[in-house]
C-alpha cells in the first residue's frame, strides 16, 4: 500500500446472500489527489459502494483501506470518527440541515471532528472567517449569506454551500454523489470548476459518482461501475 | 432488540403508575384483635419478635402498668357507669395510680394509637396509646392507668386508629403539668413500629 494511495478496495462483496449480492468488486484503487469519475446509473450499486468506502456500511467480505488505514479493523465508532476526520460528502440535493443557517451548516463538521477543527482554525482564525473564505472561493461572496437560513438559498447556492462544508478543515477525500444532477447545464460546469480549484489547493482527492457522462472529460480517470461491479446489473 | 422494546418499557411504566395510584387508603388490618381484648406481648410470634426487637429494650404488657392490688379490682369490676360522672357527688371513674418502678424506664409496649396533635406537615406529634381498639369511639374506655400519653421526639407519618403498633421509648410516671390532679403515664417516644 503506497503512501500515495487514498482508497484501496479488494475482493469486496456486499449483499444478503450469494444470489443477492449488490456489490462484487475485485479491486479499486484511487490515488491521493486524483480526480476519479465513476459512471453509474441508479441501481448499479453506487450508493452501496460509497457507503462502503465511507465506512457507513460494512462489506460482507473483502478489505477496505482508506488513507492507509483498514476500515475492517475498526469498530463502528472508530469508523464514524474516521469518516468525520477524513471524508467530506456532497449529495445530489438537500445537503443542508434546514433548521441551521449557512454558517452553522458549513462549520458543522468541526463539531464532529476535533482534527478538522484544529486544521481549520490554524493561524488563529474563527470558524466564521474560515467559512466565509471557503464560500468566497466558491463564488458566494455576499457576507450576509452566512446568517440566512439554508432553505432560503437557490439549489445552486445550496450545492456550493455543501461543497464548502465538505471542504472545511481540509479532509483528504471528498466523495460527491451526483452533486450536479439538480443543477442546470450552465451551472454544472461552473460548479465543477469551483470544486476542482478548491480541492487542488489542498491536494484533496475527489471521488465523483454520476450517471451524467458529459462531465467526465474534466477528470483524470473514468471508471464504469457496471464494469467494475461484477454483479449482474 | 426490536421496535417493541421501548413500547414494553412504556407499558411497564404505566402499569407501575396505575398500581401506585390504586393502593387503597389505609384500611383495618386483617386479623385485628377483637374489640376489648388487649394486645399481649407474649403472643408475638417468636420469629417476628426476633425480627423487630433485637432484645435490647424491655417489652412490657398493659397488665404490668397496674398496681398489684388493682388487678383484681379491674378483673372483677363490671362495666363502669360513666353516665353519672357529672353528678357533684360522684367520684373519679377509674384509678390514676401508677407503678412508680417504671419511672424513667426504657421499654416497648404494643397498643393502638389515638392521635392528639400533628404538625404543619401532617405528621403526628402527640398521641394516646391504649390497650384496645375502639377506646375513643364507642367502647367503654380503659382506666386512666391503662392509658399512656405519648410525645414523639421525631414526628412520624400519621397512623390510623385501626392498626396496632409497638411504641418504644422512655416511660415517666411523674406529673408533667403543674395543676394535674393525679399522676399519669407519659412516654417520650423514640420509635414506632407496626405490630405484625
Amino acid at each position: 500500500m503506497s503512501l500515495k494511495s487514498c482508497v484501496s478496495l479488494r475482493d469486496i462483496r456486499f449483499g444478503f446472500g450469494p444470489q443477492q449480492d449488490v456489490l462484487n468488486i475485485a479491486a479499486l484503487d484511487v490515488q491521493r489527489g486524483e480526480r476519479l469519475f465513476i459512471q453509474g446509473p441508479s441501481g448499479s450499486g453506487k450508493s452501496t459502494l460509497l457507503g462502503v468506502i465511507g465506512g457507513v456500511l460494512t462489506p460482507t467480505a473483502g478489505t477496505v483501506t482508506v488513507l492507509g488505514e483498514s476500515l475492517n479493523a475498526m469498530s463502528a465508532a472508530r469508523r464514524d470518527r474516521f469518516r468525520a476526520d477524513h471524508i467530506g460528502f456532497v449529495f445530489q440535493q438537500f445537503n443542508l440541515l434546514p433548521y441551521l443557517n449557512v454558517l452553522d451548516n458549513v462549520t458543522l463538521p468541526l463539531e464532529f471532528s476535533p482534527l478538522r477543527r484544529k486544521r481549520a482554525l490554524e493561524g488563529g482564525q474563527t470558524p466564521a472567517l474560515v467559512a466565509k473564505e471557503l464560500l468566497r472561493m466558491l463564488d458566494l461572496n455576499d457576507s450576509r449569506l452566512l446568517k440566512r437560513a439554508a432553505t432560503e438559498l437557490s439549489v445552486g447556492q445550496q450545492q456550493r454551500v455543501a461543497v464548502a462544508r465538505a471542504l472545511i478543515g481540509s479532509p483528504e477525500l471528498i466523495i460527491a454523489d451526483e452533486p450536479t444532477s439538480a443543477l442546470d447545464t450552465d451551472t454544472r460546469e461552473r460548479f465543477l470548476t469551483l470544486l476542482f480549484d478548491a480541492c487542488a489547493q489542498s491536494g484533496i482527492t475527489v471521488l465523483f459518482v454520476s450517471h451524467d457522462h458529459t462531465l467526465k472529460g474534466a477528470f483524470d480517470r473514468v471508471l464504469d461501475l457496471n464494469v467494475l461491479n461484477a454483479v449482474p446489473a | 432488540m426490536t421496535h417493541r422494546t421501548p413500547l414494553l418499557i412504556l407499558i411497564a411504566t404505566c402499569a407501575a403508575f396505575a398500581a401506585w395510584a390504586a393502593t387503597p387508603v389505609t384500611a383495618p388490618v386483617v386479623g385485628t384483635p377483637a374489640i376489648g381484648a388487649p394486645v399481649p406481648a407474649s403472643k408475638v410470634p417468636q420469629a417476628v419478635a426476633g425480627k423487630i426487637n433485637p432484645g435490647k429494650v424491655k417489652e412490657i404488657e398493659w397488665i404490668d402498668l397496674l398496681p398489684p392490688d388493682e388487678l383484681d379490682a379491674l378483673m372483677n369490676n363490671t362495666n363502669i357507669d360513666h353516665s353519672k360522672i357529672f353528678d357533684p357527688k360522684s367520684g373519679d371513674q377509674g384509678s390514676f395510680n401508677v407503678v412508680s418502678a417504671f419511672d424513667k424506664q426504657r421499654l416497648r409496649i404494643p397498643g393502638y394509637i389515638v392521635p392528639i396533635d400533628q404538625n404543619a406537615e401532617g405528621k403526628l406529634t402527640e398521641f394516646f396509646l391504649v390497650p384496645f381498639f375502639g377506646a375513643c369511639i364507642h367502647v367503654p374506655p380503659p382506666p386512666p392507668n391503662q392509658i399512656i400519653y405519648a410525645r414523639l421526639k421525631t414526628p412520624i407519618e400519621m397512623t390510623d386508629i385501626y392498626t396496632p403498633f409497638w411504641a418504644e421509648g422512655t416511660l415517666y410516671t411523674k406529673r408533667i403539668e403543674n395543676d394535674l390532679a393525679a399522676s399519669a403515664y407519659t412516654l417520650e417516644v423514640d420509635k414506632v413500629e407496626v405490630y405484625e
Binding site: L50, D80 | A18, S83, G122, P144
Partner: protein, 420 residues
C-alpha cells in the same frame, strides 16, 4: 454539546408545533401540581386550625359533622346544647377551661360567633399559637365585636366601625338586627384559620339581639325591645351550639368523653378533634387519590401528544439523519438528539406549568379561603411536588425514547442514502 444545540435549533424551526406541545404539557403539569397543592394546603389548613383542645362537644349528631360546624363553620348543627347541661359538665374537677360557642347569625357573609373571653385566652392553633390582636381588645361592653383579619380587610373596617348583624348565615338575609348595632373594638391578627372570617361577639349579645324575637322574627311595635332596654334584662343564654373543653389531665379525656356521650339529661356528642379529623381525612382520602390519578392521566395525555408530534416528523427527518451520519455522527448521537428534543419540550412544559400553577393559585386564593376554608400558601414546592416534576420529565424521556429508538434503527439501515 452539539446534539443539544441541534435539538434546540430543530425545535425552534418547528416552533409553532413545539409551542403547542409545550402548552399542552404545561397545562397538564399545572393541573397535577394544582391538585397536589390544594390537597396539601387543605390538609394543613384543617389540621392546624385547632390545637390543645381535648374535646369538642355538641348535640348528638356525627363526629365529622360536629367537627365541621364547630371548628370550621361549615354546615349547621342539628340541635343545641342546653345551658344547664353545659354548666353541669364544666363543673367537673377535671375541666381546666371551657369555651362555649353560639352560631347562627352572620354579617355580610361572615359568620357571627357568640362566645366568652375564654375564646381569646385558651384557643390555640398551629400547635401552640395564641390569638393575637392587631388592634383593640376582647369585648367589654355588651354590644362589642371582635373581627377577624379577613373581615377587616375585605370590608375595610377599623376600630369603632358600627356593624349590624343579620339572622341566618347567607350573604343577604331578610332579617337584620338593625335595632341593636355592634361596635368593632378589636381586630385579630391573621391566623390562617376560620377565625379570620368570623365576627366575634359575647354570648349575652346573642341573647340580647334575639330577646324580642318570637316565632323566628322580630316582634313589632310595643313588643319590641330596644338596645338600651335589652341591657337591663337577664341575658344568660338558654342554649349554645357547642363548646370546647380543656382538661387538667389529658389522660382523663377518655373518661370525660364517655361521660358526656352517656349524659342522661340530654343527647350529646363529645369528640377528640384529631380523631374526628382523621375520620374526615379517610373519607376525603379516596377523593384525593382519585383526583391525583385523573390529573396523572392528563399529564400522560400531554406527553403522548408530544410523542405524536415527534413521530409525525420522523419520516421527513430521515434525510437529516443521513446528512448527520455522513458528517460522522454516530447512531448514538441520533438517539440522543431525538431524546433531547423530548427532554427539552418536557422541561419547558414543566417550567411553564409551574409558573401557571402559581399564577392560578394567586388568582383563586381568596375564593378558596372564602368558600372552602382552605388557605393555600404560595410557598415553594414541597419535596413531594419536586418528585412529581422529576417523574414527569423522566416519563417524557421514556416516551421520547420511542421515536429516538425508531430513528436509531432507521439510521442504521439507511446509512447515508435514502431510498425514497
Amino acid at each position: 454539546m452539539i446534539t443539544l444545540k441541534l435539538a434546540l435549533r430543530s425545535l425552534w424551526n418547528r416552533r409553532f408545533t413545539a409551542t403547542l406541545t409545550i402548552l399542552t404539557i404545561a397545562l397538564s403539569v399545572s393541573l397535577l401540581l394544582g391538585v397536589d397543592k390544594i390537597r396539601e394546603s387543605a390538609r394543613e389548613s384543617f389540621t392546624q386550625t385547632v390545637s390543645g383542645t381535648d374535646l369538642i362537644v355538641g348535640a348528638r349528631s356525627g363526629p365529622i359533622q360536629l367537627l365541621l360546624y364547630a371548628v370550621f363553620r361549615i354546615g349547621d348543627a342539628t340541635n343545641n346544647v342546653s345551658w344547664e347541661s353545659y354548666q353541669k359538665i364544666i363543673k367537673h374537677r377535671q375541666v381546666a377551661w371551657a369555651i362555649p360557642i353560639s352560631l347562627g347569625d352572620s354579617h355580610r357573609g361572615f359568620r357571627v360567633l357568640g362566645t366568652t373571653d375564654a375564646y381569646f385566652e385558651h384557643l390555640r392553633y398551629r400547635q401552640d399559637r395564641k390569638l393575637e390582636f392587631t388592634s383593640g381588645a376582647p369585648f367589654a361592653d355588651l354590644y362589642d365585636a371582635v373581627i377577624g383579619a379577613d373581615v377587616a380587610r375585605e370590608l375595610k373596617y377599623a376600630l369603632g366601625q358600627k356593624i349590624v348583624v343579620a339572622h341566618g348565615a347567607a350573604v343577604v338575609n331578610l332579617q337584620q338586627h338593625d335595632d341593636k348595632p355592634f361596635t368593632v373594638v378589636g381586630i385579630l391578627k391573621p391566623t390562617g384559620t376560620p377565625a379570620d372570617r368570623t365576627v366575634h361577639v359575647s354570648l349575652q349579645a346573642i341573647e340580647a339581639i334575639h330577646v324580642d324575637w318570637r316565632g323566628g322574627t322580630r316582634a313589632p311595635g310595643r313588643y319590641a325591645v330596644d338596645a338600651e332596654k335589652a341591657r337591663t334584662m337577664a341575658l344568660e343564654p338558654k342554649a349554645i351550639t357547642a363548646f370546647y373543653l380543656g382538661l387538667k389531665s389529658k389522660i382523663a379525656t377518655f373518661m370525660i368523653q364517655r361521660g358526656i356521650n352517656e349524659f342522661p339529661e340530654e343527647p350529646l356528642l363529645a369528640i377528640m378533634p384529631a380523631v374526628a379529623l382523621q375520620q374526615l381525612w379517610n373519607l376525603l382520602g379516596v377523593a384525593e387519590k382519585a383526583l391525583l390519578v385523573i390529573a396523572g392521566f392528563v399529564v400522560l395525555t400531554g406527553l403522548l401528544g408530544m410523542l405524536s408530534a415527534i413521530l409525525t416528523t420522523l419520516n421527513e427527518r430521515r434525510r437529516e439523519m443521513a446528512i448527520l451520519r455522513s458528517l460522522g455522527a454516530r447512531p448514538r448521537h441520533i438517539f440522543v438528539l431525538m431524546i433531547s428534543e423530548a427532554g427539552a419540550l418536557a422541561s419547558a412544559g414543566v417550567v411553564l406549568g409551574v409558573g401557571l400553577t402559581y399564577a392560578l393559585i394567586a388568582l383563586t386564593r381568596p375564593l378558596l379561603e372564602a368558600r372552602a376554608g382552605i388557605f393555600i400558601s404560595l410557598d415553594v414546592l414541597s419535596m413531594n411536588q419536586w418528585l412529581i416534576l422529576l417523574g414527569i420529565i423522566a416519563s417524557a424521556l421514556l416516551i421520547g425514547a420511542v421515536p429516538a429508538w425508531l430513528a436509531y434503527r432507521r439510521t442504521l439501515n439507511d446509512g447515508m442514502t435514502i431510498r425514497t
